[in-house]
């Protein structure tokens, strides 16, 4: 079961899903839904609002500090996209564009 852990493969190896389906890496990724943001001990209870928001803020800060191409930032991006409802993400993206986001990044 996927738990957000990055798997390191030997050079030249391709994931099984890609190898047996004949699809490209991008196509395979479009079909993978089995990702569960790993358990965060800062948010152990039923209320996961802060978990979603914190991952969004961490991603924005990571990207501003290290640039868009920095791969470890994708961990936060994946987490917030899986946890947060689409409506919330759109609202926060709009706030960022309008410079009205409530957190100082």
């Amino acid at each position: 079961m996927s738990s957000g852990v990055e798997i390191t493969r030997p050079e030249g190896a391709i994931p099984l899903a890609q190898k047996y389906s004949g699809l490209s890496e991008e196509e395979v990724k479009k079909r993978i839904i089995a990702y569960n943001p790993p358990a965060d001990s800062r948010f152990p209870n039923q209320n996961q609002t802060k978990n979603c928001f914190q991952n969004y803020v961490d991603f924005q800060r990571c990207v501003r500090l290290r640039g868009e191409d920095y791969k470890p930032c994708q961990f936060f991006e994946r987490n917030y996209k899986f946890l947060c409802p689409t409506g919330w993400i759109e609202k926060w993206d709009e706030q960022l564009e309008n410079n009205t986001f409530p957190v100082k990044l």
Partner: protein, 227 residues
């Protein structure tokens, strides 16, 4: 779904609900035992006509009727707390599904690894004439989830407070605007599960049911492809 005149639980659709039913049956046995004991002694005491004017204390009996109930309660507490913490274990989930309550319908979102929104389903109640006799339960679209796969459900709302309930699965989570409530779900069989909104949310609160279908994993992926 419930039948007319049904008194007990519906057949369990998830592993947690099976455990809840076992716990309920266990506690009910204890309750009936205590009730019978109390009723018998109450009736005997009322009909006997005996009065003991010198009876002012009894150390042994008072000790016994304190200790035995305490032991019974401890016996009930162990499985109760075990279940309580078991249902809060979210580390083993495989799939994330977001449930969003609106006035007056439910929508479901499933995301992919590449962060595209793979599935977003809006479920409106079917009117009475289209409901095959199952009024207030059927929806035009429904959520499909794979069986025997732990699913992490995140419930929220777009407007007012709703509550996402599926009694046969033993789950209920309030959909509060601005809050994400996490529920754990593992379906144990292929079936259709029904529920209804459980928090007053306006004029059509009674008319926003929940329909969930448990299917094999490959059928689930085929459904996602079709959406």
């Amino acid at each position: 779904m419930m039948s007319w005149g049904q008194l007990g639980f519906q057949d369990a659709g998830s592993y947690f609900m099976e455990e809840f039913i076992y716990f309920h049956d266990f506690t009910m046995m204890i309750i009936l035992g205590v009730l019978s004991y109390v009723v018998v002694f109450l009736i005997l005491g009322l009909i006997s006509g005996w009065v003991d004017s010198g009876f002012v204390e009894g150390q042994l009996i008072e000790f016994m009727w304190t200790i035995f109930p305490a032991l019974i309660l401890i016996q009930i507490a162990f499985p109760s707390l075990l279940l309580l913490y078991l249902i809060e274990d979210f580390s083993k989930s495989f799939l994330v599904c977001k449930v969003i309550g609106h006035q007056w319908y439910w929508s479901y979102e499933i995301k992919t690894e590449s962060s595209e929104l793979l599935a977003s389903v809006d479920c409106y109640m079917l009117p009475r004439e289209d409901a095959f006799g199952m009024r207030l339960l059927l929806t035009d679209e429904f959520l499909m989830l794979p069986i025997n796969v732990p699913v992490r459900i995140l419930v929220t709302s777009d407007d007012v407070i709703h509550s996402w309930t599926l009694p046969s699965l033993g789950i209920k989570g309030d959909a509060v605007p601005g809050r994400l409530n996490q529920l754990n779900l593992t379906l144990n069989r292929k079936a259709m599960f029904y529920g209804q909104c459980s928090e007053i949310c306006g004029a059509n609160h009674s008319f926003m049911p929940i329909m969930l279908m448990g299917v094999y994993s490959w059928e689930f992926f085929a459904w996602l492809d079709r959406l």
